[in-house]
């Protein structure tokens, strides 16, 4: 019942890793969950096709912030293609908890920011969702 609020989740919520701005990031994207109001901007530095550094900034619930925080650690040294392939399940595995249907959107905001950022970076058509 209380599995969604495991110790590790709360730790990442209260002490988010890689929190802040990354000035010289090539990838920069803000994504929000309009139903909940969670909003995060992700910054990725890319070197030779690998993510060399990552940070994020923003606010939201424990689920969304923990997933942003964990993703900010996970993405380092991954290729952009690796990241583009990530799915909800991969995020849930990172989080290590079960997330109720109502909250999957919270778990996904950060990943969406990363993936849309990459898409834009790679010159993909801007889908208009960046403000």
């Amino acid at each position: 019942m209380t599995s969604m609020y495991a110790e590790e989740i709360l730790d990442h919520y209260r002490n988010p890793r890689n929190f802040g701005e990354l000035k010289d990031a090539q990838i920069k994207y803000k994504e929000s969950n309009p139903l909940c109001g969670d909003e995060y901007e992700f910054y990725l530095k890319v070197n030779n096709g690998l993510v060399s550094d990552a940070k994020f900034f923003g606010d939201g619930c424990a689920i969304s912030k923990a997933s942003a925080s964990m993703l900010s650690e996970h993405v380092k040294n991954k290729t952009l293609d690796d990241l583009k392939k990530m799915k909800l399940d991969d995020v849930l595995k990172l989080l290590g908890i079960e997330v109720s249907a109502a909250r999957t959107k919270c778990a996904l905001v950060a990943l969406l920011a990363i993936q849309k950022g990459i898409q834009k970076f790679e010159g993909g058509k801007n889908d208009g969702s960046q403000r």
């Binding site: 929000s32 309009p34 139903l35 909940c36 109720s100 249907a101 109502a102 909250r103 403000r131």
Partner: protein, 402 residues
Amino acid sequence: MFDGKKIREDFPIFNSNKDLIYFDNAATTQKPKQVLDALQEFYSQCNANVHRGIYKIAVEATDEYEEAREKVSQFINSKIEELIWTRGATEAINQILYAWALWNLKKDDEIVTTIMEHHSNLVPWQLLQKNGVKIRYVNLNGDGTLNMKELENSVSKKTKFVTVTQMSNVLGTINPVEEIVKIAHDNGALCLIDAAQSVPHMEVDVKKINCDFLVFSAHKMLGPTGVGGLYAKQEILEKLDPALRGSEQIKSVSLFETEWTDLPWKFEPGTPNFADIVAFGYAVDYLKKLGMKNVREHERDLTKYALEKLQQISKLKIFGPLNGTRGGVISFQLADIHAHDMASFLDDNNIAVRSGHHCAMPLMKYLGISGTTRASFYIYNMKEEIDKFIETLEKAKQVFKV
């Protein structure tokens, strides 16, 4: 093909009114128990305001609600983003008026429409005359079909908008909407199809028609009252600001500015009629299961049968095409019996029809009459009912001494 008698068993109203012959389907249809049960179950099991709710029944309610949109958008072959919920066809047309036409049509721009339109596709556009917009009406051929030659001549580079019903709620005429859309587009005009009388009765494919807007009402197709659909092409919706404004349609609101959210919700402010919308999804399920080709064929059968019998009654005049592409709506006048007296007499014999101008006063004037009596069919109607109807008309001739 299917059996009207068997279908009838799904409709509780025919249980309460065993002998009722319901021939007023163009006004509104009856509801199968599948739809009534869905409504009841929704309210009894997962009623909660849709979107934003984090608790279980709110999630269920939202899922059911958006599933209905999937079902109905599939039914007319639109994208999910292109189907906006409204109260009905009339409100849908008003949304086009206030979201697009009012701000985009200017002095000396022209609208082309037809003399057979329902007031709901006519009164809204008159507002634009305020801005100097001109309305042109296309007339009919002698048999009650649309004069396409006249339509072609009426649409010009001045035309910014063409709006036409797909099926007349008085004459039963089915208009060649694909052709009309093409004429509109060739002249740079947008085109609205009033599908209030067609979506319930035949396959309607918005991509095939290629119209810019299309509207319909749930209550005319087994669904509950208070629900309708506005289809519009995504590229149009994306460019427009919503007419109706409020909550649930926004990304963010500051004191003096609002940022709209994504389609289709951008056009749906306030709490939607979610319970009825869920039930509407079940109405569409019911129709899909029957198959719209079969629905159309069933009605074509009944209509052919009725037209044949009616033509054998002396002094009976039918308004609308006698053959060809037409739907199951038959307007008539029997000798000098006033339409209301006819309807009363039929009612005395448990036959429900409509009488009067059918919200098409300009058409009445054009036809030189004050009204008609109208019988309109649906899936639960049967040939036996038409026989009884014809008998009653013969009886009326005696009573009214014609």
